[in-house]
Symmetry: none
Subunit: 304 residues, 2 copies
């Protein structure tokens, strides 16, 4: 990477805040303080002067400017304006449900449900907003033309990887998923030019997955990373990077929001691939559906 790690935010119609939260862990401590203020209350931040904001974040103006550059803005005034615009757009939720934050200790189940659903839905929506269709297109292209597709993921992301594998398989693409690192590495070693390796890691720091992608890349395969953090280590071994937009969350439902976001991305890719050859994909899907038909009861209309 050249010099200034400026991550483009220009093709981001709706998601400045999302974009910033994604970048948050890659920022320096002082910049993170600024970022947190901004994310917490964009409208308020837009009203502040740079000196004001710097003081509030207990840092200097210089750091605020650096923060602006880090998130892809030219300077503070631009950030202000973008924030104001962003804030105006999202004044909507007047709901009582707890947004973004923690679930309060005394919450009843109805409240928990509302909060989880809201955050889950948001993660899905925001992920879609910040997904770059051009990159998706290239990934779809690669998958369509691939001799073989390997999908990797550890832990929770493993479910997603496995899901993706199954989906691709159902429409007749040759895809594999390995729950075990060693097997995965072995498989990666057998990949070659034209093949595709997809690595899924929410944090982007899962060494197992990174290793496997690295191996795949060394063999000439096209590598794709799916992570929540656009500057995490996994992005360094990937030809294409797709990001989800689950907010940094605490333990409760954060993991789930991120999972849903990942699944959404995977589904988009899947549909993109399937759309390339509708007839064949539909036929394959019908065949696989028919295969499990005998395991269904009451095949007709559902009774009361």
């Amino acid at each position: 990477m050249a010099k200034s790690p400026k991550i483009s935010a220009s093709h981001e119609p709706g998601g400045l805040i999302v974009h910033i939260s994604g970048l948050l862990p890659s920022l320096s401590p002082a910049e993170q303080r600024v970022a947190r203020l901004v994310v917490a209350d964009p409208a308020d931040a837009a009203r502040r002067t740079i000196t004001d904001l710097a003081t509030a974040a207990e840092t200097s103006e210089a750091t605020v400017i650096r923060f602006c550059r880090s998130v892809g803005m030219d300077g503070y005034p631009q950030l202000r304006i973008r924030l104001a615009a962003e804030a105006a757009r999202r004044v909507e939720p007047p709901d009582a449900r707890v947004v973004g934050g923690d679930i309060p200790p005394g919450a009843d189940l109805a409240q928990i449900i509302a909060t989880i659903a809201f955050n889950d839905a948001r993660a899905v929506e925001e992920t879609a907003e910040q997904l770059d269709p051009a990159v998706c297109e290239q990934v779809v292209e690669a998958i369509v033309g691939a001799g073989r597709i390997d999908v990797y993921g550890a832990g929770a992301s493993g479910f997603v990887a496995s899901d993706f594998q199954q989906k691709l398989h159902r429409i007749g693409r040759t895809a594999f998923y390995f729950p075990d690192v060693h097997t995965a590495l072995t498989s990666a070693a057998l990949l070659g030019r034209g093949d595709v390796a997809v690595g899924i890691s929410h944090t982007g720091t899962t060494s197992d997955v990174i290793e496997v992608l690295e191996q795949a890349r060394a063999r000439g395969a096209t590598t794709v990373a799916l992570t929540n953090f656009p500057r995490s280590p996994i992005t360094e071994v990937a030809d294409f990077v797709l990001t989800t937009a689950a907010r940094e969350t605490t333990y409760r439902s954060g993991a789930m929001a991120s999972r849903l976001a990942q699944l959404t991305v995977v589904d988009c890719l899947f549909v993109g691939v399937a759309a390339r050859n509708r007839a064949r994909a539909r036929k394959a899907l019908e065949a696989t559906a028919a295969a499990v038909q005998t395991h269904r009861v009451g095949s007709g209309r559902r009774r009361g």
Copy 2:
């Protein structure tokens, strides 16, 4: 008239532009030139610097400031921000995404993404809305008091079942998932009063899952069904029925929407259970998180 004819615009949530055009005729010629530029393209005006705007209106900065005061702003920066916000709000509804229905054959990837995300998010939201907190509460209760929890699911629902099992396990509940019918049946036969069996089936017609639930029920276990169809066969063997709200869909992303909805429900149950004993759950989660820490790289901040 006293001095500056400042007209308050602070109690004007939606209509800055309207407000300005309203008092346009009362402005001086030079100010009117400014006003017309602003009204014609608020977003563009917000991007300009005061000198820029003054030049464009063929006047001086001083006049622009006067204009700001005339329309009730404190100064130029405030106007800029208000304009940016205003502009953002009125560009909003460009909703080209296809709602609910099929993805048209000629759709480009951006459209596909928007459609999938929208439907996914909807499924999650609507599921939460129709979920009965009372039933959830009872299910949570049962799980909290259970000696053992068995989770069943076939095919795509198997992922969800497996996910649920893993979640429960991580907070120290004894939970099992069996991908194979025979093993599942065997396990169900060993359940007893106080144990819980959860069956997941989107259609509610998967005979394997129904069979297993039936077996579990016969042994005295509490049975829970998670399905999209409140009157499907599976509900007949369940003590508690939880439903998702994915619309009846064709092959494309319907499966995914239903999956996300299922995961959301599962997550709600999980959080509900975890909330019953915060301290213990948190401790267990921290322990499991720490266990995989060595498999992460760049434990600190991510670099570019």
